[in-house]
């Protein structure tokens, strides 16, 4: 609050004004239109009233003097301190009123407010106004009389009032103790005390009465001399916004910010005008900072998004802001700065180290811009043209993000840089190459470029890679996780399944993702789904099935991918939950098509499950299903009495599965290939071909499993003809089945046939076998439980690495090795993917051993 250049000489002039002001404290212009009638005390305050009246009339005159057109915007704007004082006085007034009618509850409330205000006053190290002290003294005496009265006439007061009275006594006692010295001084000589206060306040208060509406600048000088209230000149609006007055106006706007009845639009208009007149960089930066926040303030509710035109303006202003700071490195925007005078112009020369530090935060603007963009996309109907138009703004936004990245690279601030890069990465990770190139080309055309850009013919994956690498080095684990997921997603999108899988496994995210925040979990789900789809596109059916299983089996795909709110069947979401859910939704253009996802999942399930179903012969084993949802659908389809021609994707797949079961692979292929949704896959044709081939092969396997009991021999060439596969492939498939003991048969090379050896098991034998299996399972379960219980550190199964005890019995050694491997997965933790693989491998190996 230290005064600027013109403040000092005016101080004496302000002094009498101030004191007069204070004397009239009891009632002033706003308090006079208070609703409560104060007829009783009229006599007491009449003197003051009179003064107020006088003042008011002068006040009114100024209003009339003013041009009538903008009467509505004429407001008395006082300095912060004056306003506080006024508030306090209003408070005191209400208290007085309440005192009259003996309403102690109201008094108590008001008093609390007052105390809080005084505390605030003290916090900004201003002296306690004498008014307060006076109020305290008055209260004390009033209390004493009230208590005395109370004793005399007991029935008069109701319970809550009495309680309030007692409470007040306590409070007042406490507060008077605090201000004991002041009170004593006041009591001895009230006038002297008051004078003392004004003496302290006056020099500082000098600029305080000055600001007056928005047009204060011109008439300021006369105004200050003239009784603290400015007579507003007839100067036009254009005159009102001059470079000199910018800071004052800014302050006005800032003070009005967040008030209930502030006209936001008007404020934005004011600021825009201010920006137009701003001359120096400092002014521009300051105005821009305020203007951008004002634009974001436009909407008070969280749910709706900022209007698009405002958003576009804000975006260009952020660009402008970054441009200024980049051009003139002697201006720096920081979130935390030393206190500086809001009203003074600052230049690099006036600062100690030649750098002007301004309070503000560019990163929060960028964050907000991005969030608002997403929010608007969430709210716009994705099927309209508006959505597409809105999407076009992403270019500009992306450019802004890149510019801010350049800014933070220059200033070497790690934390915001990480955040900004994360934003950038999130804009491009899920986009096809062409879109990324388009986005990047705007960045390349911009004058401010970050260090990492994509060349015209560069690979998008290299861009993603370098962005992610940067984030991996950041200390923020949240950013690291998200960057990792985006990176994996990108690899998966580009059909680099192996790299993506290795990275996902090496990151060990699947162990800790349950404790992550919801947004990251969604990203994780998206990544996993994309990984599954990429496996599907690469023809790795088993992997695709296993990867998609987790997500697709839940029946809540949409919810897990944040692509729609799930209708809960048993519980109803509270409005808050639903709101939160809606805020998490991804904008439409980032969606993964759920129908395509379902098709991929069901088709891969079909290819895995149907041969398995065919290979099972006993009822008991039937319960083991790899893909439960598929099995359920298939059972349902089986129960249908009449099946019409397929309509939905599901119908197609179900009928295809049946055809496959019956060995009609051509029908199956046609059905699968006629699913329309495949056209959404970029490599539609190659995927269809791949599927056709897989259907042929799995059709052959199913056929063999299903019909083996009915043949003693089967010619290979016939098989090759039936399934139009090359003889070599048929031989290879059959050999594989023989080797892995899925099929008890052997090849007769000379005759070119498969010879089946089938043994019919008796009931007892079957039972014995399944019992053995069950016991095996139990032991395995026990081992797993113990593993869990002892934790990953304790490797109870690990017995000296197996190398030393090699001389032990062969069987034992072998088994021990199996066990070791099982424990080994945990022990090898920290070395990533290998460990996990070995773990899986170990389990399979032990299984294989047992079968032998």
């Amino acid at each position: 609050m230290s005064s600027d250049d013109e403040g000092a000489p005016k101080a004496p002039a302000a002094k009498p004004a101030m004191s007069r002001f204070l004397r009239t404290a009891g009632s002033d212009s706003d308090s006079s239109d208070e609703e409560k009638s104060d007829s009783e005390e009229e006599s007491e305050v009449s003197q003051e009233e009179g003064q107020a009246e006088q003042r008011r009339s002068r006040f009114l005159r100024t209003d009339i003097d003013d041009d009538a057109s903008d009467e509505d915007v004429t407001r008395v704007v006082k300095s912060a301190r004056d306003k506080r004082l006024e508030e306090m006085e209003a408070c005191g007034k209400t208290m007085d009123n309440a005192l009259k009618i003996n309403d102690w509850v109201a008094i108590s409330n008001e008093f609390d407010r007052l105390v809080r205000m005084v505390q605030r006053q003290q916090n900004v190290s201003e002296p306690v106004p004498p008014f307060y002290i006076r109020q305290l003294v008055n209260l004390e005496s009033a209390l004493n009389t009230a208590v005395a009265k109370e004793k005399e006439a007991k029935k008069k007061m109701n319970a809550s009032n009495a309680r309030a009275l007692n409470g007040m006594r306590q409070k007042v006692k406490k507060v008077t103790k605090e201000f004991e010295a002041d009170i004593k001084r006041f009591q001895t000589d009230p006038d002297a005390f008051e004078r003392e206060y004004t003496a302290v306040v006056a020099p500082e208060a000098a600029p305080a009465p000055r600001p007056r509406a928005r047009r204060a600048a011109e008439s300021e000088e006369e105004g200050a001399e003239d009784d603290a209230f400015t007579t507003v000149g007839k100067g036009g609006k254009a005159m009102a916004f001059t470079p000199e007055s910018i800071f004052k106006n800014l302050q006005l706007v800032q003070e009005a910010r967040g008030k209930k009845n502030t006209d936001r639009q008007e404020q934005i208009r004011v600021l825009e005008k201010l920006l137009a007149v701003a001359v120096t960089s400092y002014q521009r930066i300051r105005v821009l900072l305020t203007l951008i926040s004002a634009r974001f303030d436009y909407n008070s509710s969280v749910a709706t998004h900022v209007p698009i035109d405002l958003w576009v303006n804000a975006q260009s202003e952020v660009d402008q802001l970054i441009g200024i700071i980049m051009r003139e490195p002697q201006y720096v925007i920081q979130e935390i700065t030393e206190d500086y005078d809001e009203l003074a112009e600052r230049t690099p020369e006036t600062e100690k180290d030649g750098i002007v530090r301004i309070r503000g935060s560019v990163i929060s603007f960028v964050d907000r811009l991005d969030d608002e963009f997403t929010k608007s996309l969430q709210n716009i109907d994705p099927h309209g043209t508006e959505y597409v138009d809105r999407l076009k703004d992403e270019k500009g936004l992306y450019c802004t993000i890149c510019r801010s990245q350049a800014l933070y690279e220059k200033t070497n601030s790690d934390d915001p840089l990480g955040r900004v890069i994360m934003r950038r990465l999130e804009h491009i990770y899920s986009k096809p190459d062409a879109v990324v190139h388009a986005l990047e080309s705007t960045v390349a055309a911009s004058d401010i470029k970050p260090s990492i850009v994509l060349d015209v013919e560069g690979q998008t994956s290299s861009l993603i890679h370098s962005l992610s690498i940067h984030l991996y080095k950041s200390s923020n684990s949240f950013l690291r996780t998200r960057a990792m997921l985006c990176h994996i997603y990108h690899y998966a999108l580009h059909n680099d399944f192996h790299t993506a899988r290795d990275m996902l496994l090496m990151s060990h995210l699947q162990e800790s993702i349950y404790s992550a925040d919801v947004a990251t979990q969604i990203l994780y789900n998206r990544t996993v789904v994309q990984l599954g789809l990429s496996a599907f596109r690469c023809g790795l059916i088993k992997e695709a099935q296993a990867t998609l299983q987790d997500i697709c089996a839940t029946q809540r795909v949409k919810e897990l991918l944040a692509q729609g709110v799930h209708q809960q069947r048993f519980q109803v979401l509270s409005p808050e939950q639903e709101k939160a859910e809606r805020q998490r939704q991804l904008p439409f253009h980032m969606h993964i098509n759920t129908e395509l996802l379902e098709a991929a999942f069901l088709v891969s399930s079909m290819l895995v499950e149907i041969p398995l179903l065919a290979s099972i012969d006993s009822e008991d084993q039937k319960r083991k299903a790899i893909s439960k949802p598929f099995r359920r659908l298939l059972d349902f389809a089986d129960r249908q009495i009449f099946t019409g021609p397929p309509e939905s994707t599901r119908d197609h797949i179900m009928q295809a599965s049946k055809a496959l079961q019956n060995g009609e692979w051509e029908k199956c292929r046609d059905l699968i290939q006629s699913i329309k949704i495949w056209s959404l896959m970029p490599e539609c044709n190659s995927v269809k071909e791949m599927l056709a081939k897989r259907i042929q092969e799995d059709g052959l396997r199913t056929y063999l499993f299903t019909y083996a009991p009915h043949y003693t021999t089967l010619s290979l060439s016939l098989l090759s003809r039936t399934f139009s596969l090359p003889l070599r492939t048929v031989t290879s498939i059959v050999s594989k089945m023989i080797w892995s003991e899925e099929l008890s048969a052997s090849l007769d090379q000379a005759a070119g046939v498969v010879v089946f050896h089938r043994i019919e098991l008796s009931r007892t034998q079957q039972l014995a076998l399944s019992l053995a299996d069950k016991v095996n399972n139990m032991v395995e379960q026990n081992e797993k439980t113990l593993d869990n219980k002892l934790g990953p550190a304790a490797t109870w199964n690990d017995r000296g690495d197996g190398a030393k005890g090699a001389k032990g019995g062969e069987q034992a050694a072998e088994r021990r090795r199996g066990g070791e491997r099982r424990g080994g997965g945990a022990r090898g933790g920290g070395r990533g993917r290998g460990a996990r693989f070995a773990q899986g491998l170990g389990n399979q190996m032990t299984g294989a051993q047992r079968n032998r």
Partner: protein, 461 residues
């Protein structure tokens, strides 16, 4: 066949001195232009203290140029350093070799130090002199001397970093002197040292990324190095191949291979094929098991690494495409023949690979045309017949297979496994595993896990 040559991939993971034999081998098999290799040899030698060798290489490489002067200076320098270091080290060595001292040295290193200090005034710095001298000797090629000094140093030193470094040095020296038994021992101790804690990387092994001080990463580095170095030992020691399988298939090392050096799979595959025959009897089933495991890994890492050796196993055990397997085998023969480590075992490899093919073939088929099989094995008809007869005699299927000379076919009748037997197979391990569970539980109750109870049980069975 140069595209399958792994020398260039392996060199970054070897010590400077270990590379010499590799390069010499390359010169011999003439895969690369001789001049290039010589140049490489020279560049390699230049940085060591083997001045004379470097000079001779230089002369070979540039016959018409004068030998640069720097060599003379370097030589002198090396000699004087040698002198100085030797004197330093000699003092300690005198004390240690004193039989009286040797007797009073105990297991506890700290106590030893105390003892030496009290009685002979040997300080830690003096002991470090042993290390320095050993290292210096190594750098000019006196490997056996280096091994000696480093051994003594390791016995006395307590500094973990230097001890580790000494381990590596000793191993390299043993490898270069060709003492495979000692090297094997050294290898095992080194492996234990690496596995037991997250060690610091020896200075000379520090990869460019040594700035990252993640212990897991350094351990991975050490393991990668160990894998490469151990190749020298395992392919020269008589028992090496089986031990190689043991080591490389242990989960930690399998992980290392998968993450950082998939090309080691070639040696793993080769070793698995090689140890098929050498370890009939007790080990055979485990080896078959190892092949299965390796095939799985090969399949998994196919996108990262493949060469004829791994492809052979893949075609044979994943695709069961015998023709393709045979083709791959033909190419693998060259690869194995040109490989520094495998070249000795080429015939063995081929032999065993044939066995594997015919074994798989016989298991799947019921009636086999002998001519056809011989062709599959790259053998003439006569040889093929002999081979098959031997095969039938040696393997377990002796009772089931019969040769019908008239039709020139083999008939194999494999009676199905009786149900009771398969049940026995399935349940055989259960009792033992349950016992292990129980033991683990009791161990878990006694707070610090007791010493290894279980191996004893294993032996008992």
């Amino acid at each position: 066949m140069a595209e399958y040559d792994l020398t260039r991939t392996i060199i970054p993971h070897c010590d400077r001195h270990l590379v010499f034999p590799l390069l010499t081998h390359i010169v011999e098999n003439e895969l690369f232009p001789a001049e290039q290799v010589q140049k490489a040899q020279y560049e390699l030698a230049k940085e060591t203290n083997m001045v004379d060798y470097a000079v001779s290489l230089f002369e070979q490489l540039y016959p018409d140029e004068a030998v640069p002067d720097e060599f003379a200076g370097k030589r002198e320098n090396a000699l004087s350093t040698n002198e100085r270091l030797q004197q330093d080290a000699q003092a300690v060595l005198d004390v240690i070799t004193n039989p009286e001292v040797a007797q009073s040295l105990r297991q506890d290193k700290n106590q030893n130090l105390q003892y030496l200090k009290e009685h002979y005034n040997v300080t830690l710095e003096q002991i470090n002199a042993l290390y320095n001298f050993g290292q210096f000797q190594y750098s000019y090629g006196n490997y056996s001397g280096a091994a000696d000094y480093l051994y003594h140093f390791r016995v006395l030193s307590t500094d973990p970093d230097l001890t580790m470094s000494a381990h590596w040095g000793k191993l390299a020296s043993d490898i270069l002197t060709g003492k495979w038994d000692v090297a094997l021992e050294e290898l095992n101790t080194l492996r234990e040292a690496i596995d037991s804690r997250s060690p610091s990387v020896p200075q000379f092994a520090s990869a460019p990324s040594s700035s990252i001080t993640d212990p897991a990463l350094t351990q991975l580095h050490s393991r990668t190095w160990l894998l490469h170095w151990s190749l020298f030992v395992y392919f020269n020691h008589p028992e090496g191949r089986t031990l190689l399988l043991e080591t490389f298939l242990s989960p930690t090392y399998l992980n290392t291979i998968q993450t950082s050096c998939p090309w080691i799979l070639r040696y793993l595959a080769a070793a698995a094929v090689l140890s098929r025959k050498s370890s009939t009897g007790a080990l055979s089933s485990r080896v078959r098991h190892s092949i299965r495991e390796i095939v799985k890994v090969i399949q998994m890492e196919e996108y990262q690494y493949q060469d004829p050796t791994t492809n052979f196993l893949k075609e044979l055990y994943v695709e069961f495409d015998f023709e393709a397997a045979q083709k791959e085998l033909g190419r693998a023969e060259h690869v194995v023949g040109n490989d520094f480590f495998l070249t000795e075992f080429r015939d063995d490899f081929m032999d065993n690979a044939r066995y594997l093919i015919s074994e798989a073939y016989c298991r799947i088929h019921q009636r086999i045309d002998i001519a056809d099989l011989s062709e599959r094995l790259n053998l003439s008809k006569e040889d093929g017949e002999k081979w098959i007869v031997n095969l039938i005699r040696e393997t377990r299927m002796g009772a089931d297979a019969k040769i019908d000379l008239e039709k020139n076919v083999i008939e194999i009748h494999r009676p199905a496994l009786p149900v009771y037997q398969s049940i026995i197979e399935k349940t055989r391990g259960l009792a033992f595993r349950t016992q292990a569970l129980g033991a683990a539980m009791t161990r878990a109750q006694q707070a610090p896990p007791a010493t290894e109870v279980l191996p004893a049980e294993v032996e008992a069975r």
